[in-house]
């Protein structure tokens, strides 16, 4: 399949800024979807609100573009009402972890079969660069002009603790590993989360001395530590700070029974 059979060519060029990581994620997702051998007509893409959540609108399939933060709740209803469909959620850090945090942890807990791609750009990009729950400590944004005094959330670790079946994190610098993890997530039954730490040169990089997207990719490259190579539990924890590190890799891969199996909804047809 050509990439523009997968995406809606008539909507190109897309709305994302030059150098935005969303486009990179779209490339990797297309490859993973293709390799997983899934059918477009049988897949519904759900998005919330934000830059990342615009991705479903570009995919040549059914899309449900929902309200801010509630994508997982919408996807839960959709999946349980029509269990034959494959449901993929595109979401961002603010959408998933801040306004939708409750639905996120309960989604992991409930373990309904869906694939969640979270594009974490450490900022509220679409509204112009406000601090988000993953903005690293002491970084600048329009709402933290004196530096962000809060500490960031670790979305992948939360998902592991809450009970998701598959959790992985990569940055947009590791495109091949990212593609592989997306494929595994798409093939996994149950709640699967792939968090992609992505660059927002326009609103994050520009205020943090990384206005050039390649500077941000270099930041990712020099600060990522592979989870399997992290030496201690202390190193295992993500800091997302220039002085700290971004832990990447597969966080969990297990086979807890998913919700629709438990309630026997699959038998309904």
């Amino acid at each position: 399949m050509d990439i523009f059979e997968f995406y809606r060519k008539d909507r190109w060029p897309h709305v994302f800024c030059p150098g935005c990581g969303n486009g990179t994620v779209m490339n990797c997702f297309f490859r993973a979807f293709n390799e997983a051998g899934l059918s477009l007509d049988n897949t519904v893409f759900v998005g919330g609100i934000g830059c990342s959540s615009r991705v479903p609108l570009y995919i040549n399939s059914d899309a449900l573009h929902t309200t801010h933060g509630r994508a997982i709740a919408f996807a839960t209803g959709l999946k349980l009402a029509k269990p034959g469909l494959k449901v993929v959620v595109f979401t961002g850090d603010g959408d998933l972890g801040a306004i939708g945090g409750n639905h996120f942890i309960n989604g992991c807990r409930r373990n309904v079969d869906m694939t969640v791609i979270c594009i974490n750009n450490n900022i509220y990009g679409m509204t112009g660069g406000q601090a988000s729950i993953t903005t690293p400590h002491d970084f600048q944004s329009t709402t933290t002009p004196y530096g962000n005094k809060e500490y960031p959330f670790d979305l992948a670790e939360i998902a592991v603790a809450a009970g998701a079946n598959y959790v992985a994190r990569w940055t947009t610098r590791q495109v091949h590993e990212l593609t592989k993890s997306m494929k595994s997530a798409l093939q996994k039954r149950g709640f699967a989360l792939v968090e992609v730490v992505s660059q927002c040169p326009t609103n994050f990089g520009r205020r943090n001395k990384m206005a050039d997207p390649s500077q941000m990719l270099e930041w990712f490259k020099s600060n990522t530590v592979r989870r399997d190579k992290a030496k201690s539990a202390e190193l295992d924890h993500v800091d997302l700070n220039l002085a700290g590190q971004i832990t990447v890799g597969e966080f969990v891969d297990r086979n807890r029974e998913c919700y629709e199996e438990l309630i026997g909804v699959e038998k309904h047809g």
Binding site: V46, A63, T66, A73, F74
Partner: protein, 376 residues
């Protein structure tokens, strides 16, 4: 199994459960809240046998979101809540209106604002139902006054929400929800299903033109549907900057309900043409009904549907009347709309009997108020 035809003695909330099952509900997402919890409990028990899904979500926002998702999955879906939960749901209700999703919400109203009176009745959410979410949109709302109507109007909620692709509300209250009474389940029910894209419509069910209510795209059938709450064209392309697209869309969403008022509105008229008319709805109409049935000089217009506002029956009641009394369990919500219509129709004296605190106005309170108006 749906309830077999016959006569039953049940609680209002249980009648609502039976009505929903009889209309073919396949998905319910709920969160415990007094006084609507019996509906969730009832459906948790009964949906499994109907190949349906019951889901207890983490909050009311998740409930309505899951219900909208399920509706796009092709299931008839509903949720039930009360005041505080209803407030949380408002954003998604606007989404359902904008994305033209059929959903049914049962709001068993309780005393507000805030936590208020969880176990007591009120009609404080009437305006919130119509205006709660931001932007211009229309909804369909019914107000049951008896156990029987909890059943009948739940069925109507499903029918009209599927027919016009709008969120439909059953505005019950703690009084009707917890009332026990006679439920007569008819042999045959009129159940309307959605008009799916690519399927020829059945003429009997749809009397509205295609340009107002679009056929329903179905997920997983290659329709490549884009469902969004953003301003969009007919093909689903988002055009938030285009003023004409926005104006056309919002006007159509409102028109499709307003132009079909005749089809949607339901009411009961007693003593039409009386010089004194009472207009009321829901459980606050019960006391007024007793007065109107006993006193030949007093008439009653009981609104079974309140949104879109039944202007025709109100004007009809006002035309021959010298005075109108509106009974509500709030500080006057529908009163001002009724007053506008009644005064346009030529009735000068329109007054309000408002009762707060949890109990509907009693017949003696209604009579007392009528006396002070110079009616009896």
């Amino acid at each position: 199994m749906t309830i077999p035809p016959g006569e039953y003695f049940v609680q209002g909330n249980d009648a609502c459960v039976e009505g929903a099952l009889a209309s073919g509900v396949k998905f319910f997402a709920g969160y415990p809240i007094t006084p609507s919890t019996e509906i969730a409990e009832g459906l948790a028990q009964r949906l499994k046998g109907q190949n349906g899904v019951f889901l207890q979500m983490e909050d009311e926002i998740a409930c309505i979101s899951a219900v909208i998702g399920a509706s796009w999955g092709g299931a008839k879906a509903m949720t039930a809540t009360s005041g505080p939960g209803f407030s949380l749901m408002q954003e998604a209700i606007g989404y359902a209106a904008m994305s033209e999703t059929p959903v049914v919400l049962v709001n068993v109203m309780r005393g507000g604002p805030s936590t208020g009176q969880p176990t007591k009745a009120s009609q404080g959410d009437v305006m919130q139902t119509k205006w709660g979410s931001h932007g211009d949109y229309q909804v369909i709302a019914f107000a049951p006054a008896t156990v029987q109507e909890m059943f009948d109007l739940t069925v109507e909620c499903f029918n009209y929400s599927e027919k016009y692709r709008v969120p439909a509300f059953l505005l019950s209250d703690a009084e009707v929800g917890h009332m026990r009474g006679l439920l007569r389940v008819p042999e045959k029910l009129n159940v309307i299903d959605r008009k799916e894209m690519g399927i020829r419509r059945t003429d009997e069910a749809y009397d509205v033109p295609d340009d107002l209510v679009k056929p329903f795209p179905v997920f997983g059938k290659g329709h490549k549907a884009i469902i969004t709450g953003m301003t969009h064209t007919e093909t689903g392309r988002i055009e938030p900057e285009d003023s004409k697209v926005h104006s056309d869309l919002v006007r159509r969403l409102n028109e499709k309900v307003l132009r079909n008022r005749k089809d949607i509105n339901k009411w009961e008229m007693i003593g039409e043409g009386s010089k004194t008319m009472i207009i009321s709805y829901g459980s606050s109409a019960l006391g007024a009904k007793e007065v109107a049935t006993k006193d030949p000089n007093v008439g009653l217009l009981r609104l079974k549907s309140i949104w879109p506002l039944p202007e025709e029956p109100i004007a009809q009641a006002a035309r021959g009347a010298q005075r109108i009394l509106v009974c509500e369990m709030n500080l006057g919500q529908l009163f001002f709309s009724i007053k506008r219509v009644a005064q346009d129709a030529g009735c000068k004296q329109v007054e309000l009997l408002s009762k707060l605190g949890g109990e509907p106005p009693t017949p003696s309170e209604v009579r007392h108020k009528l006396r002070s108006m110079g009616a009896v």
